[in-house]
């Protein structure tokens, strides 16, 4: 089944660029014969470009020219242009791009209302065209930051479009949330306005925080340079690395962090692309991890962060991988799931791991985790045979846990700090279609969400009384 990523805004496109690069690397490692197969078709079309430009799709046989199934949207040209001039230029063509020059000025209203109405039709048309090339479109991925103007505003506009035009296709959003020290003053406004859209129109959101990514990068840096490990680390196994991909020199400071997010998406879709003894498709993730429509924010953690060049992997190492997935060091957002309430948890394992390894580790870790009373065995698992590049196995954990609440509460507080003083509001209200009610509705939506988490938290540790069963007349 096909997944269609759309990158919106600067952050989204930088992550997107890393994603396509690493996706190609992953498929090259697996697909030795150069045959265009089902796995590749999840993300790439196979096109014969000898006839110039955009040739017809080739569904079988040798790989000719791979084109990413993607949409790249930015209201500034810088990032997209760089992609088109870089080693990935042949993977995209002009029909997949929507750009402008002036940017959104870190203003959600500009992104959502102004550019939304301006480019809406264009975007729909290009989406339809891209979707037409897909044999079976299962999900959309939107990648954007929350704190800016384009990713946040136009990105959530696109989210709305997707729901209207393709109501049956799942919408996953990878959203990068701003930190407290974000240098964009209006990022709380942008984030909260975007949150309302995510609450109402996304099927699943994977919130990411730059600080967590940064911490992971640092941790790896320390490990690699400390000399403590005693063996060399496999370069291409680093979750932050671009080694082996088209981009051989890491130029930008964000590349390492963006690689982490790219790896997240690759692992998330691995079981849908590659075979395994217990497949986990994206629609299954949505089905199992979202017990109530608005509670769809998932904490993600990735392990391992690197693999040593040693070939001998004792099975203790395997269990360590599971423990690490539940360690805060491996999470892509700062939160404390162990001291909050799990609504559901998914474990997507790749590589040479069998069901007994899964079960052993679930049994081992369960006692230290709090699950909501109606989902005490709330585990969803997947086994994909193909490991990521450089690893013999890996694990992606997705948790629907009330630990995201503090992140949202903090966001609300930062928003209120500005809103009470009406700081910078005029920049937003100037934009056609933008009214004060947009703000009040957005903050209400966020408050309602926080309240839903509160209600669940209140059940934690309480007495467990199972509801009485139906009585049947004998």
């Amino acid at each position: 089944p096909v997944s269609l990523p759309s990158a919106v805004g600067q952050c989204g496109n930088q992550v997107g660029c890393r994603f396509w690069d690493l996706a190609l690397r992953e498929h090259a490692a697996v697909n030795k014969k150069g045959i265009y197969d089902e796995a590749l078709s999840s993300f790439f079309r196979n096109v014969d470009t000898r006839s110039g430009g955009d040739g017809p799709d080739i569904y079988k046989g040798k790989i000719r020219s791979l084109k990413a199934r993607a949409l790249l949207i930015d209201m500034e040209e810088g990032v997209v242009n760089e992609i088109l001039q870089g080693p990935l230029r042949d993977v995209f063509d002009s029909t997949q791009l929507i750009t402008d020059v002036s940017g959104s000025g870190n203003n959600w209203a500009v992104g959502h209302k102004l550019y939304g109405s301006q480019y809406g039709e264009n975007i729909v048309e290009k989406l339809r065209k891209t979707a037409e090339h897909c044999d079976c479109l299962q999900s959309f991925f939107i990648i954007h930051s929350m704190g800016g103007g384009t990713g946040s505003g136009l990105g959530t506009f696109v989210l709305n479009l997707l729901e209207d035009e393709f109501p049956e296709v799942y919408r996953f959003v990878t959203a990068v949330y701003p930190s407290g020290e974000d240098d964009v003053i209006t990022s709380p406004y942008n984030s909260v306005l975007a949150m309302k859209e995510l609450n109402e129109h996304a099927d699943c959101v994977l919130p990411i925080e730059n600080e967590s990514l940064f911490d992971i990068v640092n941790k790896i840096h320390q490990m690699v340079n400390s000399g403590k490990l005693g063996s060399t680390v496999k370069q291409n196994s680093l979750v932050t690395s671009s080694a082996g991909s088209a981009k051989t020199v890491q130029e930008k400071p964000f590349d390492a962090m963006n690689n982490i997010v790219a790896n997240l998406l690759l692992n998330l879709t691995s079981s849908a692309r590659f075979e395994g003894s217990l497949n986990m498709d994206l629609n299954e993730i949505s089905m199992n991890l979202v017990p109530f429509p608005r509670l769809h924010y998932l904490v993600s953690s990735l392990t391992p962060l690197y693999t040593l060049a040693d070939v001998n992997v004792p099975s203790r190492r395997l269990d360590q991988m599971f423990s690490d997935a539940f360690s805060r060091d491996h999470q892509l957002i700062r939160a404390d799931p162990k001291h909050s309430l799990y609504l559901a948890c998914a474990l997507l394992v790749r590589g040479n791991v069998q069901v007994s390894d899964l079960r052993r580790n679930i049994e081992r870790l369960k006692p230290s985790l709090h699950f909501v009373s109606w989902n005490q065995e709330g585990w969803k698992t997947g086994l994909c045979s193909i490991p990521p590049v450089g690893h013999s196995h890996s694990l992606l954990a997705l948790a629907n846990n009330t630990c995201v609440k503090p992140t949202f509460v903090e966001l609300r507080d930062r928003f209120m700090k500005l809103y009470k003083k009406k700081a910078h509001l005029h920049h937003y209200l100037h934009v056609d279609g933008m009214e004060q009610s947009c703000f009040s509705e957005a903050i209400a939506s966020l408050s309602d969400l926080i309240e839903e988490y509160n209600e669940l938290d209140a059940t934690k540790g309480g007495p467990r009384t199972d509801p009485s069963r139906l009585k049947i007349a004998v």
Partner: protein, 453 residues
């Protein structure tokens, strides 16, 4: 008579493949411990039952493969072909790209009606290849979306299209913890629907087979493949050709019919459990000897004490003394130590099978009073050994075996339903709260019936 197998979803297809593998490998083996003539007779009976030889180089399994995503079927087809000993028919599979998302409603209400024609056409094709149709054997998991939801729909279609054919559903119960979060919902919906269309549900529990792999087969890193192979062995031990009557001269031609007739006297009681002993790693077989009295004694105690495998049998459990009234337990919370049976079938295969004495299984205190003990118990004895086991004994039982597991599943599902968690995912595809309630009611009825045995 031939059996048409319908493999549904990832689980159904993975298991189906192992079943045909096991059957084929058994037939090919020289370990039959019987005369060449006997072997050939077995071979022919097996072929007629499970394979078609329409001029192909290798026998073609009488099977229809259905899945809503392509990867598993693709793998299954190629693995079978690679074996060199058998394969699936070229046009015998149907798949889509989407999957069912572990959503029973999606499998049942969307995929079912949408693909009914295509799937039933494949079934019809397979049926037409049979000289005589002995019935359908469907394999599915009840935890996911396709096997469970689409499987329930297809079962209904099979019943409608072939009202007089035997229909046996092989249902896999997922691990208690963590395969699919909504597995209990899917299970409740599946079981309640199957109960209406199917003749009998033959159940295998992943947890049980897993334990067998760990404790009896001594497998360290147990994979689904390992689990499925043990399962396939157990199924093969029942469905490979067998003599129905003592001193029979030809193999029974109607295995499904025979099974149903013996084991399912009443439509309210359709849950069948399966036990097979001995089970051990292949390389231990050569060093082990078995006696029929020993095997039969163990199997009987496994029945009485509801033991899932040969290790850890509770020998303290005894049938109630004759003539005493058995206090019927109204609450399923009380542990039911003694497993009451409605009917049992024992299938013995191997050396000196005719010397085996099964009088202990005819003890009336094992059974409810509805049937004469002679009718409640049946045995099939076949001298031809199965799958390298010098002696092999299987028990198919319509008893309280599955009472506790069913109660667990219903209980967990009900607990989740009370909070309304995940219900929106089902109503999205047309399964409403009332549908859930109907299913719960139906299963509480089944539980009540089995409890009051």
């Amino acid at each position: 008579m031939s059996i048409v197998t319908v493999q549904l979803g990832q689980c159904g297809n993975q298991i189906g493949h192992e079943v045909f593998n096991a059957i084929c490998s058994d037939v090919r083996g020289t370990h039959g411990l019987c005369s060449k003539k006997e072997n050939e007779s077995y071979h022919d009976a097996c072929k007629e039952r499970f394979f078609c030889e329409e001029g192909a180089e290798v026998p073609v399994a009488r099977a229809v493969l259905v899945d809503m995503e392509p990867k598993v079927i693709s793998q299954t087809l190629s693995m079978a072909a690679r074996s060199g000993y058998w394969k699936y028919g070229d046009g015998s599979h149907f798949c889509q790209k989407q999957g069912s998302g572990n959503n029973w409603a999606n499998g049942y209400s969307v995929h079912g009606p949408r693909h009914k024609e295509a799937i039933m056409n494949l079934v019809q094709k397979e049926v037409e290849k049979c000289d005589r149709l002995g019935g359908f054997f469907t394999i599915m998991s009840m935890a996911g979306g396709t096997g469970s939801g689409l499987g329930a729909f297809v079962t209904q279609c099979l019943r409608d299209a072939f009202p007089t054919s035997f229909l046996l559903n092989h249902v896999i119960w997922p691990y208690g913890t963590g395969e699919v979060i909504v597995q209990n919902y899917n299970s409740v919906l599946t079981l309640s629907h199957l109960y209406q269309s199917s003749d009998a549900l033959l159940v295998h529990e992943n947890d049980v087979i897993h334990k067998i792999c760990a404790q009896l087969m001594h497998i360290k890193q147990i994979s689904f493949r390992d689990v499925n192979q043990v399962l396939a062995h157990q199924l093969g031990s029942v469905f490979q050709p067998a003599y129905r009557a003592a001193g029979g001269s030809h193999y029974s031609r109607n295995p499904l019919g025979d099974l149903m007739e013996k084991l399912v006297p009443h439509p309210e009681f359709k849950m069948l459990g399966l036990r097979n002993i001995p089970q051990m790693p292949e390389n231990s077989l050569a060093y082990s000897t078995f006696s029929w009295p020993g095997l039969i004694k163990h199997l009987r105690q496994m029945l009485i004490a509801n033991a899932k495998m040969e290790e850890g049998i509770d020998w303290q459990v005894r049938p109630p003394p004759r003539g005493s009234s058995i206090p019927s337990s109204h609450s399923t919370n009380k542990p039911l130590h003694f497993n009451t049976s409605i009917a049992n079938l024992v299938v013995l295969r191997g050396k000196d099978v005719h010397s085996a004495d099964l009088g202990s299984f005819q003890d009336p205190s094992l059974y409810t009073s509805w049937l004469n003990p002679q009718d409640a118990f049946n045995v099939w004895k076949t001298p031809r050994a199965f799958n390298k086991y010098e002696k092999s004994a299987s028990l198919v039982s319509n008893s309280q075996f599955l009472l506790k597991p069913l109660d667990n599943v219903v209980g967990k599902a009900w607990n989740m339903f009370a909070s309304k968690a995940y219900i929106h995912q089902y109503t999205k595809f047309g399964i409403e709260e009332e549908d859930f309630l109907d299913s719960f009611t139906a299963l509480e009825q089944v539980l009540s019936s089995y409890t009051s045995l």
